[in-house]
């Protein structure tokens, strides 16, 4: 059997494979977001490809700049729609449907044991559902669309054993930031990560998605949670039952390295500015004045994240002069937040709620930063210029920390604002 990566890639290669081998694999799924669809179509055309190998396995997602911010973006959206129809591509999630990775897990577009690609680095998120998900560039995505195949090296695996429970006020984002602080941005390059232990068993699908999402910031090729009762419950709701294609933990699997992290010992963390591994406990950071708070992204834009933030914002107002943007990760998240009354809380507090999708995360629309501004974001990246001006500073933190900081106007430990939060599950 081997590691989850070995199990899944063996099936995709139709032969038993081990870490280190270079293999040709068949993609179960291959997706493209709107920021890369133009390049993929361009490559296919230049390569003379008129028919795609397996359109039933493919999907397009309008998330990075939807609704379109420029004429060029709108033109790309229109061309993508035509292409999807001509080629019979199975899925086109249009403006407002949400972020690809969120939709993939939410709607069960991917399942445990599958090999899924997407022209986006945060495809590692899909590992929360026991799927080997990894990013590809546009050229190799076009190759998969043309042939159904691609080369891969079977990665070695880091096993990260999470123990215990997070204290109230902390969540999976604090785990990600702690790992980045301890391991840096290179520890998992070319490697897969598996999250094991009672600590991960106690986390829900949303928190697992956050963990697997930011594994790419550690450099990982894929990150997976072995399917368990939480996975089964998630897929049962979608009418999908466990079968023998789901990978399982093999006690004889060989891990390159095993790390342990006691969740109970963690504190709220913040990363930034300008580097994801510049991480400190929030109480050790010199707290600058904040101009924009951003709650959203494939890292932390789920209903669980919105609930946490709403509990802090309920009955409070944003700090004077601060704006807060709330961008649900998907239409389903947006609807749930409406039904639960969270949208009223956000609007009463003074927040802006935008169309679901990536929003301000990549600096493409819906909330850019001006020169010299400071942002606290629930996203995953903070390079200079990521959300607008190169002279702006971005801090990354959990949804609770984002909301607490939006209330005070400075980086704030969410545990200092009542009510204390239950651990996100």
């Amino acid at each position: 059997m081997g590691t989850l990566a070995e199990q899944i890639l063996s099936r995709a290669a139709s032969r038993p494979v081990r870490a280190g081998e270079l293999v040709e694999v068949i993609a179960d799924r291959c997706f493209v977001p709107d920021d890369t669809i133009a390049l993929v179509m361009h490559h296919l055309k230049r390569a003379g490809i008129t028919r795609l190998a397996a359109p039933e396995r493919l999907g397009i997602f309008y998330d990075h700049f939807a609704p379109a911010e420029t004429v060029a973006s709108a033109t790309i959206h229109a061309a993508g729609r035509r292409f999807a129809t001509e080629q019979g591509i199975a899925h086109l999630f249009d403006v407002g449907d949400g972020i690809s990775h969120q939709i993939c897990v939410e709607k069960g577009l991917v399942r445990p044991g599958q090999l899924a690609f997407n022209a986006d680095s945060h495809t590692t998120t899909l590992g929360a559902a026991g799927c080997f998900g990894t990013g590809l560039g546009a050229t190799e995505t076009a190759y998969v669309w043309a042939t159904g195949l691609i080369w891969l090296r079977v990665p070695t695996t880091l096993r990260v054993i999470l123990e215990g429970r997070l204290a109230p006020g902390l969540d999976a984002k604090d785990v990600c930031l702690t790992l980045l602080r301890e391991l840096g941005t290179r520890a998992a390059v070319y490697r897969a990560i598996e999250y094991h232990g009672d600590g991960v068993a106690g986390l829900g699908m949303a928190a697992r998605m956050t963990l697997c999402n930011m594994a790419v910031e550690l450099g990982a090729k894929a990150a997976m949670v072995p399917p368990d009762a939480v996975t089964e419950a998630h897929f049962a709701v979608l009418g999908i039952a466990r079968d023998e294609s789901w990978p399982r933990i093999d006690p004889d699997a060989e891990y390159e390295r095993t790390l342990r992290l006691d969740l109970g010992s963690l504190e709220p963390m913040v990363a930034g500015p300008h580097a994801v591994n510049r991480v400190s406990p929030i109480n050790e950071v010199e707290a600058p004045r904040i101009d924009q708070a951003f709650l959203g992204t494939c890292t932390n834009g789920r209903i669980e994240d919105l609930r946490v933030a709403a509990r802090i914002l309920q009955g409070r107002r944003l700090a004077p002069g601060l704006r807060m943007i709330v961008t649900p990760a998907s239409r389903a998240v947006h609807l749930a937040a409406m039904e639960e009354g969270l949208m009223r809380i956000f609007l009463d507090a003074g927040c802006v709620v935008t169309t679901s999708g990536c929003g301000a995360c990549a600096g493409l629309h819906q909330g850019l930063l001006g020169e010299g501004e400071v942002c606290i974001s629930s996203g995953s990246r903070n390079a200079p210029g990521r959300m607008g001006s190169r002279d702006a500073a971005i801090y990354l933190a959990s949804p609770a920390t984002v909301a607490a900081s939006a209330v005070t106007g400075r980086l704030t430990d969410p545990r200092t604002l009542a009510p204390l939060l239950e651990t996100m599950t």
Binding site: T36, A47, G137, A138, W151, V189, A383
Partner: protein, 159 residues
């Protein structure tokens, strides 16, 4: 497969947001992309890259985003060889699959812009500033992709 040229040198942890900011995605022509190459580091960088055939970087070149413009914009600017202490997986794949030679050399010394480098990807060595370093040779299947000028060019040739 031997490549040679003078280098423009950048530092550690230059990620894909810095190599090619997301707002310039959607431009298919590498020559046009080149006007935005490395602009995450500052507006002067496209001009700096343009006069060299080799890009030299430190650890973890190209981390973060999957965007291949981080690679193809360099090609558009005339870069033919990228040497780094280490690469992110996506950047390395994007190099090979777009036909840009990439060499990882952990022992790479500190170099100044203008230094001459030569690499043989099939034999696995790198010459820089008079010193020779052994580097991992590329597997044949990846050399084949490079010889064709990229994965899609290889596919066209096979058709």
């Amino acid at each position: 497969m031997i490549l040679s040229g003078t280098a423009v040198v950048i530092g550690d942890e230059v990620n894909s947001d810095l190599l090619y900011p997301a707002r310039h995605m959607g431009i298919p022509d590498p020559a046009m992309q080149a006007t935005h190459a490395l602009t995450g580091l500052g507006p002067e960088w496209p001009g700096r890259v343009a006069t060299h055939r080799v890009l030299v970087a430190g650890w973890n070149l190209g981390g973060g985003s999957a965007r291949e413009e981080a690679v193809t914009a360099l090609q558009g600017a005339g870069v033919r060889l990228v040497v780094a202490r280490s690469f992110s997986r996506l950047f390395f794949r994007n190099c090979i699959n777009n036909g840009l030679a990439a060499v990882a050399c952990e022992a790479l010394p500190a170099l100044d812009t203008g230094a001459t480098l030569t690499a043989d990807l099939a034999e696995g060595w790198l010459d820089c500033a008079g010193a020779r370093f052994a580097v991992p040779a590329l597997p044949d299947s990846l050399l084949e992709i490079l010889r064709h000028g990229g994965l899609l060019a290889q596919l066209r040739a096979a058709a």
